[in-house]
Symmetry: C2
Subunit: 245 residues, 2 copies
Amino acid sequence: MVAVDVVLFTVRLEEPIDRAWRVLLVEREDAAFAGKWSFPGVLVRAEETFDAAARRALRTKAGLDAAHWYLEQLGTFGAPDRDTRGRVVSVAHLALERSDGLTLVPGGGVMRAEWVPVRSLPAEALAFDHADMLRVAMNRAQSKLRYTWLAFQLLPETFTLPELRSVYAAILDPALLRLNTGNFKKAFNRLFASGVLVPVGRRAEGGRVGRPGDLYRFTGPVLGTWRRELPWEHVELDLVEGGTG
Amino acid sequence: MVAVDVVLFTVRLEEPIDRAWRVLLVEREDAAFAGKWSFPGVLVRAEETFDAAARRALRTKAGLDAAHWYLEQLGTFGAPDRDTRGRVVSVAHLALERSDGLTLVPGGGVMRAEWVPVRSLPAEALAFDHADMLRVAMNRAQSKLRYTWLAFQLLPETFTLPELRSVYAAILDPALLRLNTGNFKKAFNRLFASGVLVPVGRRAEGGRVGRPGDLYRFTGPVLGTWRRELPWEHVELDLVEGGTG
DNA sequence: GCAAAAGTGTTCATCGTACACCCATGG
DNA sequence: CCATGGGTGTACGATGAACACTTTTGC
């Protein structure tokens, strides 16, 4: 028996930073798992790909149309005793998406579907080995945020730099919020220079105290590495014409 | 049906750099797959973990005792038509190990087992979707070499810096061999300073032309990231005592 | 002695960090 | 006009890249 489970992360910018990083969890109708959260998942059909099954899980269990969302395979969990009802191998998936305009519609054996704060989620609250899955998913999401431009996936079309910083802070480290704003912007100098991050106009909504931030738009692929990790990553040596004798 | 396949990489320092990066491939006895290479793999038993199954595949198909080797899950391949004999989901694994003292012993339905050069391996030479697996495995191995100290896993107890450079060159980019030796050493300054990389004594074997390299020993965990990837990775701000009015 | 390869040290440019200063908004 | 927060510019230190130079081997 092969199943898929989906760990769908989002960030709620309006929430306090410690509760901003959220994950989609559902509670099943089965009495056996009462009071436990789990990730939306389905059994893989005979002629179905994992990717299709994962998007179907989001649709049927939470009413979300994930047809075009960012989705990647996380890993496969197959400990012989992970499911008490027999050996079920689960291919876990990671998805990230903004959740502003979404409404959750529980379905298919699901009582509740909610965005639950990740940082304060105790392992006992999760069914099966989903606490393991969550740990792997959190690490992977943090890595992806570091190596790629996936952070922009969690923001609306136009956004301010403080909002961008909030995304990084919510997922990587809340302390980032206390970082100097100027240096934060400088970290994106290359994106500005290459025209992938472009300013739009002043921010009208000044709901809070200070000066509103400038609005920006991201026009690049969300994947694509941050920069080189090894010093000598780009070796473009033209062969030196060494005399051979 | 759930199977595991293992992509086991090694580096042969004595070979020319383009043929130094090698992968373990086997040829099955089945007439249906004659002339095609595949990765060693087995069906997962009822009460067996993936990890155990992967190590069993190396043992039974190639006679390798991989009990303590570096092994990680790569990803799961489950396209409905990937195996002509029915739907078989395969959990691919990545392993890296030095191969100096190893002898390959074909077994369990395997005719041949060989270390095949990776860079010159055409996709058509591989059975099933193993060409896809290989591509993923190559990318993952290259990433691991960049983010971790896994390169040392492919070297003997003591080694020279040129040999270390050869490992990086074989897997990342052959052009690294033409890089300045001094700057290469400087890239490991942190390892030297922390005492994880320690010199031993002069290299006796001077089989080649120039001066033999100094011998070194690596005494650290093979995993462990290279360095920070985001500028503001380590936020250790003490809260500034701002007057709150 | 000469060529080839390994290893050391210096210089220079780049970039991350700290910090001072200016701008815009709400009360 | 003052507190709060966003944005700009400058100075300094760390470090990667280029390169000159020394050391050690084989022929």
